[in-house]
Amino acid sequence: MITFPGTLDDADAARAVRYAGAEAVALWHGDHDLRGVAAVVVPGGFSYGDYLRAGAIASLAPIMSEVVAAAGRGMPVLGICNGFQILCEAGLLPGALVRNKGLHFVCRDQRLRVESTATAWTSALRNSQEIVVPLKSGEGRFVADAATLEELEGEGRVVFRYVGVNPNGAAADIAGVSSVDGRVVGLMPHPEHAVDPLTGPAREGLAVFESVLRVAV
């Protein structure tokens, strides 16, 4: 779990990792050190105050050069919300996240359809399974040029799609995508907030963190 200045969801992401049965290791944005972890979660929040563009400054933080190198060696990396924005800005995932179509910050329990179980972060889910996890973002509209969208669809790299409502105007209802090798996944909704009925809708987000344990250990 990486913490940047302005990260909000590192504690929740750590809790989700523990619930899944793994050890959560705190990583610091200013370090060039991944502390021997087997996988990396880039959590949500407003890193560096979202100055310039959401995720733009964080993508150049010292820890990110280590994450990019590790992803190149196949280490599983998950970007949630601001973490997704950071991974796009870092070039680990295609496309970009821009201001919601309706301008409003959207905070809701969002239904998603699992479009690919062939990634490091979705193997414990079922194809076409629908899960409900919280979405809370103001710049969550996924955009990419036509050729990139065609490539993502053709290669099965759309991982999650919004169901029912498209909350932010995302292209093709896309909520999450993966890298070519399926090891890097980014999504706007927050599976780490859906791991305990006490604090979120059911626990359907836990499978994301259970998935990575199958490949990372």
């Binding site: 310039l52 563009r53 821009v98 301008l103 105007g169």
Partner: protein, 78 residues
């Protein structure tokens, strides 16, 4: 030393809801005739002579703008 201006705009095909909101507010201000507003960013950089045009475009394309969603123009005034 030179003053360099970098103007960054959302690509034409990218929907700009912030610009639309500004256009809507103009109507509420009682101003007619503005048919479209698009919102971008304007950067002013003071650079010394060692920073060449190629470097300025790297600065613009790798940090100031995101080439996936934005276009930019670099203007250098000595």
């Amino acid at each position: 030393m030179a003053r360099v201006v970098v103007d960054v705009m959302p690509k034409p095909e990218i929907l700009d809801p912030q610009g639309q909101a500004v256009a809507g507010a103009l109507g509420r201000l009682g101003i007619a005739g503005v048919t479209d507003v698009r919102q971008g960013k304007h950067f002013e950089l003071d650079v010394d002579d060692s920073v060449d045009y190629e470097t300025l475009h790297r600065i613009a394309g790798q940090l100031l703008a995101n080439p996936v969603i934005e276009d930019w123009v670099v203007t250098r005034t000595p």
